[in-house]
């Protein structure tokens, strides 16, 4: 089985959210659901020293994240219907609409906030890594839309060989929890998982 995954380059992302909107447009998502979110993480302050000079340790950076099609997906483990599986050809974590009852257990379990319950469809919905486009030899629409080329997609082994093996940064959870198929080029001022010096700066934008 080939396992596909995403690469996110934190040194390039400007937080423009074109990836979010391209995904919403392709998947015709309602206002209250995003399959991909851009988290703005920031913190720090200004201090004045004895000589009156101001210094700052303020920081902010963006993390674009969707379903990471994990190797140990919490959503799949917890689903009471057995409705969530991994595609053998691509490693996509998919939700079978025939079996799903829309109970929301997957949404409650995922530490990346990837699955959502669509109130209209009454089903769990999530990023499918644009399976139709990938099957046609294209990139997922978020990757193709990014004007800064901050996203990449491919076989996870190739991505790791090309970009490294970092897969966690605040505000994401530790990669050891669900083994995400994600590679991150760490942004400037990247903070470690569990960092308490920063906060999510755009909680109302996260759907």
């Amino acid at each position: 089985m080939a396992q596909y995954g995403f690469h996110f380059d934190g040194t390039r992302c400007t937080g423009c959210k074109t990836c979010v909107l391209a995904c919403k447009d392709k998947n015709d998502l309602p206002n209250d659901i995003n399959f991909r979110n851009v988290h703005e993480f920031g913190g720090g302050s200004w201090k004045q020293d004895a000589s009156g000079c101001w210094t700052t340790d303020a920081f902010t950076y963006h993390v674009s994240v969707a379903c990471n099609h994990c190797d140990a997906p919490a959503c799949m483990e917890m689903c009471p219907q057995g409705a969530i599986g991994k595609d053998e050809a691509t490693g996509e974590v998919f939700s079978d609409p025939e079996m799903c009852i829309g109970c929301g257990t997957c949404a409650n379990s995922c530490p990346y906030g990837a699955p959502k319950v669509d109130a209209t469809k009454k089903k769990s919905v999530k990023c499918d890594m644009c399976a139709d486009r990938v099957a046609a030899g294209k990139q997922p629409v978020c990757v193709e839309a990014c004007p800064l080329r901050a996203l990449d997609f491919g076989k996870i082994d190739d991505l790791r060989a090309k970009y490294g093996t970092d897969a966690e940064v605040a505000p994401l959870p530790a990669a050891s929890e669900t083994k995400p198929n994600l590679v991150i080029t760490l942004p400037v001022n990247a903070k470690k998982v569990g960092d308490t010096s920063g906060d999510e700066q755009n909680p109302r934008e996260i759907k």
């Binding site: 917890m78 009852i101 959870p173 929890e177």
Partner: protein, 290 residues
């Protein structure tokens, strides 16, 4: 940002986890005279005919839990994940318990029921009820949700059932024209409930301390469940009031006894509802979920 919207959106699950474990344990306790062969034919008949009340409490909880499903028409797939998903196992145990209880209840109407078969059936049903309570206690063990995978969570649910179950059982006995106050076990049942109240308070006090530092990058437990101490106080007042009404009601007879035990049960269950609500309020994942 509080966890109130989260808990409110899961209100049917709050109701389910309030009613079903206590209802199932009450069913077990109310059937103990039959399981141990201590009930006369007439007493057994009364107990059998009134068991619908305790089953109804459990059923209301189960039906409530089903209403939060987006699309329950495909719910039978739940049996494909028994043993893999704790929620699936919980549903399976609930179905087994209710199926056995339903069949037993129907058989109780037989003109000449076989006593041994009946006793074996009630023992099997009670075992299924206990398995259901255990499965519910562990159904929320989601590793990525630190507030739910805390080791005291299943203990709190057992303690909940041990508090609500005996009071409900007294209601069941009263409805079956037993008078719990005229037997020593009536006071003992409510005493068990009172002991469970003390255990609940100890468990919730420890959880309040241990969960206070838990947070992710979006929220902390004190933000999600503000005034946790006030919730615990409301729980204690409601439960204590229920037990007070129950103990005072032990001397009543007939319909008055049923009414008093129903009031006691309602107050105790209201207390449990408050704490189950805070449980759902406290939901947060290790990453980006609340």
């Amino acid at each position: 940002m509080t966890g109130f919207p989260t808990a409110f959106s899961e209100i049917t699950l709050v109701l389910f986890t309030t009613l079903a474990p206590s209802g199932a344990l009450a069913y077990v306790l109310a059937n103990l005279p039959i399981a141990f062969g201590r009930a006369t034919d007439e007493e057994r008949e009364h107990l059998d005919r009134s068991s619908w009340l305790l089953l109804a409490v459990t059923m209301v909880g189960l039906v409530a839990s089903a209403t939060h499903l987006g699309n329950p028409s495909n719910a039978l797939y739940v049996f494909t994940a028994v043993g893999k998903s704790p929620l699936s196992t919980e549903v399976f145990c609930a179905v087994v318990f209710l199926a056995l209880a339903g069949v037993y209840w129907l058989y109780s109407f037989a003109e000449r029921p076989r006593r041994r078969l009946q006793r074996a059936a009630v023992i099997a049903t009670n075992a299924a009820a206990l398995a259901f309570v255990a499965a519910t206690a562990f159904a929320y063990n989601v590793g990525t949700v630190p507030t739910w995978s805390h080791p005291l969570v299943p203990i709190s649910l057992f303690a909940n059932a041990l508090m609500g179950g005996p009071v409900l059982a007294c209601l069941g006995f009263a409805a079956a024209r037993f008078e719990p106050g005229r037997a020593p076990w009536g006071g003992r049942l409510l005493g068990l409930s009172a002991a469970a109240l003390a255990a609940n308070l100890a468990v919730y006090a420890v959880m309040a301390v241990q969960l206070a530092p838990v947070s992710n990058e979006l929220a902390s437990v004190p933000e999600l469940v503000p005034n946790y101490a006030a919730f615990i106080a409301a729980f204690a007042v409601l439960a204590a009031a229920g037990l007070f009404v129950g103990f005072r009601g032990l001397r009543a007879r007939g319909r008055s006894l049923v009414v008093r035990m129903a009031c006691a049960s309602a107050l105790v269950l209201a207390g449990l509802f408050v704490m189950r609500f805070t449980f759902y309020m406290s939901h947060l994942t290790i990453g980006l979920g609340i």
